[in-house]
Structure formats: structure tokens, C-alpha cells
């Protein structure tokens, strides 16, 4: 279906289309911000509701996918800024400390170098994490990322470079080799 058809859909069809085509991607993007499956479910519902309520505002200036991703990013960031989330951080830190003490799980996690890099990406601060996730997991261009996050493209480039530096520090030299 092309963007012509998108503009002619009513809001029920728009939500249906979003779920059918972008449902999995959206939930994975939300998870990379929230890192909690239960809360991801809740925020995903909010995203669908926002699309349903604001469908008339979609003018087709960006692609439908960029538009829905932008809503998902904004909802996720709203949650991260909320007091409720700050309470959860304390709880998660405690759980992570417990997890770190399990050496077997740690070994399994680091068996694959890609797993190590992916884990490091997911542990980056949000602003660096989002450019890496949208680049590598969603295959978005820097311009699309700029549109989806509402950030200037020059900032996206800087964040990409800084994310790379941070990752190099986190990941062992062996795990950070270039391969085609």
C-alpha cells in the first residue's frame, strides 16, 4: 500500500495498517527506550490510541512509518521523564545488581561478540541509544532519524560519532572489529 492509500484510510484502517505492518517494529523500538516488556505493552497501547485520535493530523509530509515511529519515540520519552519511571529505575538497578552476580548468565550473554555489542548499544544513554537502534535495527537514514526524533541532522551525526566512541570503550577490542 502506498502513501496515497494511507491518506485515504480512516482512523480504524490506519491503526489496523499500523498494527499489521509496523506493530513488531514499534514494540521493539519502545522496548529499547523502556527496557521493560510490561511497560512496553502499555506504551504501545498509548501509541495506537494516539494514532487513532490524531489520524486527521497525518498530512503525508513524512512517510507513515516515520510518523508512527515519531509518536512511539515521543511516548517513550514522556514515560522516561515521568516520576513513575524514576521509581522504577531504583527497582531495576537493584534487579540488575542481582543479575550481575550470576556468572553463568553473564558468560552465555557474552559468547557472541554481536550480542556483546548489541547489549552495549542497549546500555548507552537514551540519546545515543536511539540513533544506533534506529540506524541498525530500523535501517533508517540519518535524515529519517532527524525527522522521527525532531532533532537536527547535524546533531544526529554528532551523536552517532559519540555513540561509536562510547561503544568502543565498552566493548572489547576483539568484539569491535569491522567485518563485511
Amino acid at each position: 500500500m502506498n502513501d496515497y492509500s494511507h491518506q485515504h484510510m480512516d482512523r480504524d484502517q490506519a491503526v489496523q495498517y499500523t498494527m499489521d505492518h509496523f506493530g513488531e517494529d514499534l514494540k521493539r523500538i519502545i522496548y529499547t527506550y523502556i527496557k521493560n516488556h510490561h511497560t512496553t505493552d502499555d506504551i504501545f497501547q498509548e501509541v495506537l490510541l494516539t494514532i487513532y485520535q490524531r489520524w486527521q493530523q497525518f498530512k503525508g509530509q513524512s512517510s507513515l512509518k516515520t510518523w508512527v515511529i515519531r509518536i512511539a519515540i515521543n511516548r517513550s520519552k514522556d514515560y522516561l521523564r515521568s516520576p513513575l519511571h524514576r521509581i522504577k529505575i531504583v527497582k531495576d538497578q537493584w534487579l540488575n545488581q542481582k543479575k550481575d552476580t550470576d556468572p553463568l548468565e553473564e558468560i552465555v550473554l557474552q559468547q557472541e561478540k554481536w550480542e556483546e555489542i548489541a547489549a552495549a548499544i542497549l546500555n548507552l544513554p537514551v540519546k545515543y541509544r536511539e540513533v544506533m537502534i534506529l540506524t541498525f535495527q530500523q535501517n533508517m537514514t540519518q535524515k529519517e532519524i532527524a525527522e522521527a526524533t525532531g532533532t537536527p541532522i547535524s546533531t544526529i551525526k554528532t551523536r552517532m560519532q559519540r555513540a561509536r566512541i562510547l561503544l568502543k570503550k565498552e566493548v572489547s577490542e576483539e568484539g569491535w572489529t569491522f567485518e563485511s
Binding site: Q7, R28, F44, Q56, E115, I121, M160, F178
Partner: protein
């Protein structure tokens, strides 16, 4: 670093199983149903509305009758005069060509139903009765009785506009297997000297593009003229500015003759505002000229290419796909990294052995 490996690893880290399930779908629909059903949610809004209406009617009553706490006796010699008709109100009722142009643009760039569009345009204009199987609808606005759309041969030229017989022409091309959805509007410039045409196609530009004097023929080198004509399926001799504005894809092949260099004063490029895809075979073009193609997304160079590639970056900032595999590209990977929108590049890995730098920046490299 392998992009695919990273992508897979990130997805594994998030979850091995699909996150989106039918329960998400079900939960949404249940939520929407519950939102629709209970009237209790509307009660606070209704109460607020009633209070607001009471306040407004109270204030209006006091305003019209004077202070109710003062004596009601009033001077009978003073009779209320009718409210003056303000100049502003008169102005509001006069619809200008520009008002209708704005309305058309707003209507057709928002989600709409064809029937609603037809109804709203018929209110202010007139629909031209065309053939029942015609893939487009035509409307005329601000038309006098002297102008008969059935008599005019095709899209109106500047004459009826300058004669004052027609203010605005609209053509809506509905999508079919051969064509997409597109719109054409024609009207006279403010000084009355030039005809303006605006064209709109939803994909992928999504905005109206404008050209002055759309029926004016355009001069181009023979090879380019033939290439444009082939692309538009038109005769090379009849190409106009309007045709060039609708051009989305162009392939110029000079491989069978001497390499062609596009001159720096090539004005015809300025009319190709919708051009998205360009194939150049033994054709040299500067970055400055490419800047005249504001919506260029894909470009393929074959054979001869401008020698100083870094100078081209200014004209390639919107390009998402670049193919230089079969060209004599002599630039560096850094030149390619300068291209802000580049998403996919097809190249010769022996010419650019350090192509991994591109992959690291999220660019899809193909060979």
C-alpha cells in the same frame, strides 16, 4: 562490522519471540470500545459546556439590557441603531482566486474522500463534464458565460485567463494502473502577465510545485530532449515547462557518442523540480547544476563522471541511493560520507577498499 549481525543481535537482546501479538490487537480494540461506550466520560464536558453557555447568555443579557441593578427607566428618545456593516465583514465574503487555490491545496493534501472533494469544489466552481471513462476530473472557477470549457481543446492556455473569462482551472488525475494521483492548477499571476501552473503528486514529494508560463517550449540539447521525450512518452518537439515539471525519472545515455557535459547555464534543469531518479551514462554534470534538482533521490553514474567528485557533494545532499560501480569515480570514502541523506551506495570495492566506514555510518553498501 556487519549491519545484519548487529541488527539480529539487537533483536535477540530485545526478545527472541515476537513482541507484537494478538493480545495487543485485542487490548486496543477493547480499549477503544470502552472509550466509546460509557457516557459517564462525557458528563464533565457537558456540565462545563452548560455552565459556559449560562455565563455567556448572562453576560449577553447584561450587555444588551444595561445594568440590571440600576433603574430600568431608559431614555425613550434613544432608539437602538442597527449595527454598522463593517468593511471587514464585506471583505470576508469576497472569495479570491488565491483563497480557492489555498482551499484546493489544503483539501487535496489532507485525507479526503473523492465525493467530498467533488461536493466542496462544486459549491464554488463548476465541474467540466468529461468522458465517463476519463481518468481525471476537471473544475473551473470564476468563469464567465463567454468561456465554454467544452469548446476549449484540452487544458486552458493563458488567453481565457487574461480575457477575464476564467479565474482558475483544476485537474485531478485519479490513480490508475499507469498513473498515480496528481493535481494541476492553473491561474494568472498577480500582475496578470504570466500563467502559473502548480502540480502535485502525493508520492514522494507531497507538495505543490510551481512553474510560470507552463506552455512555453523548452530548449535542450538534442540528446537530452530525446531522453525527456522518451521518459514522458511525448514528442521531442512539443516539450514544455509543464512537461518538465512532471518529469520524475530521466535516463541520458551518451555512450554511443562523445561524452556529454551539461553546460553550466542549462536552464531547463530548473524546471525539473520533481525529478527523483537520474541515470547518466557518459554524461558529466556539476554539483552546482544538481542543486537545481531539489527532489533528486537516486542517481546512477556510468562511465565518465566529473573528475573532482568532492565538488559534487553540494548537489547530492538529498540523494538516498547512489550507484557509482560502473563509473570512473575517483573520489574517496570521505567524499561519500559527506552526503547527508545517503542510505544505499553501489560501488566497486577495489576502488573504495575502505567501504566499511560507510557501513559503520549505517549506509547499506552493495557491490
Amino acid at each position: 562490522m556487519s549491519r545484519k549481525n548487529i541488527e539480529k543481535a539487537i533483536n535477540r537482546q530485545i526478545s527472541e519471540k515476537p513482541l507484537f501479538t494478538n493480545s495487543d490487537r485485542q487490548r486496543f480494540y477493547e480499549g477503544v470500545q470502552n472509550q466509546k461506550r460509557p457516557w459517564i466520560h462525557i458528563v464533565p464536558k457537558v456540565v462545563t459546556l452548560v455552565i459556559t453557555l449560562l455565563l455567556i447568555s448572562g453576560v449577553t443579557y447584561i450587555w444588551n439590557t444595561g445594568n440590571p441593578f440600576q433603574s430600568p427607566a431608559a431614555d425613550p428618545s434613544i432608539t437602538p441603531s442597527p449595527p454598522p456593516v463593517t468593511e471587514e465583514k464585506e471583505k470576508e465574503e469576497v472569495l479570491t482566486v488565491q483563497d480557492v487555490v489555498n482551499q484546493i491545496q489544503e483539501t487535496l493534501t489532507s485525507p479526503f474522500l473523492p465525493d467530498e472533494v467533488d461536493e466542496s469544489f462544486r459549491e464554488i466552481g463548476e465541474k467540466i463534464e468529461s468522458q465517463p471513462d476519463a481518468p481525471y476530473d476537471e473544475y473551473v472557477f470564476f468563469k464567465t458565460d463567454s468561456y465554454d470549457p467544452q469548446e476549449s481543446d484540452g487544458i486552458p492556455t493563458i488567453e481565457p485567463f487574461q480575457n477575464g473569462d476564467l479565474g482558475l482551472y483544476l485537474q485531478i488525475q485519479w490513480p490508475s494502473e499507469e498513473t498515480g494521483f496528481s493535481v494541476k492548477i492553473r491561474y494568472l499571476s498577480e500582475d496578470g502577465e504570466q500563467l502559473i501552473e502548480e502540480q502535485y503528486a502525493i508520492l514522494p514529494i507531497g507538495k505543490f510545485l510551481k512553474v510560470k508560463n507552463p506552455d512555453q517550449p523548452v530548449k535542450m540539447p538534442d540528446l537530452i530532449q530525446q531522453a525527456v521525450a522518451n521518459s514522458l512518452n511525448k514528442s521531442p518537439g512539443s516539450l514544455t515547462r509543464s512537461d518538465l515539471l512532471s518529469l520524475e525519472e530521466l535516463s541520458i545515455d551518451a555512450s554511443h557518442r562523445e561524452p556529454l557535459t551539461i553546460e553550466e547555464d542549462a536552464e531547463y534543469l530548473k524546471y525539473m523540480k520533481a525529478l527523483r531518479i537520474l541515470y547518466l551514462n557518459d554524461v558529466k554534470i556539476s554539483g552546482k547544476l544538481l542543486k537545481d534538482l531539489p527532489n533528486l533521490e537516486q542517481i546512477t553514474f556510468i562511465g565518465d563522471i566529473i573528475s573532482d567528485f568532492s565538488s559534487m557533494s553540494e548537489g547530492l545532499q538529498k540523494v538516498r541511493y547512489l550507484n557509482i560501480r560502473n563509473s570512473n569515480f575517483d573520489g574517496t570514502v570521505e567524499d561519500l560520507l559527506q552526503l547527508e541523506s545517503l542510505n544505499i551506495v553501489t560501488l566497486d570495492q577495489t576502488v573504495i577498499p575502505n567501504y566499511e566506514k560507510l557501513q559503520f555510518e549505517g549506509i547499506d553498501v552493495r557491490f
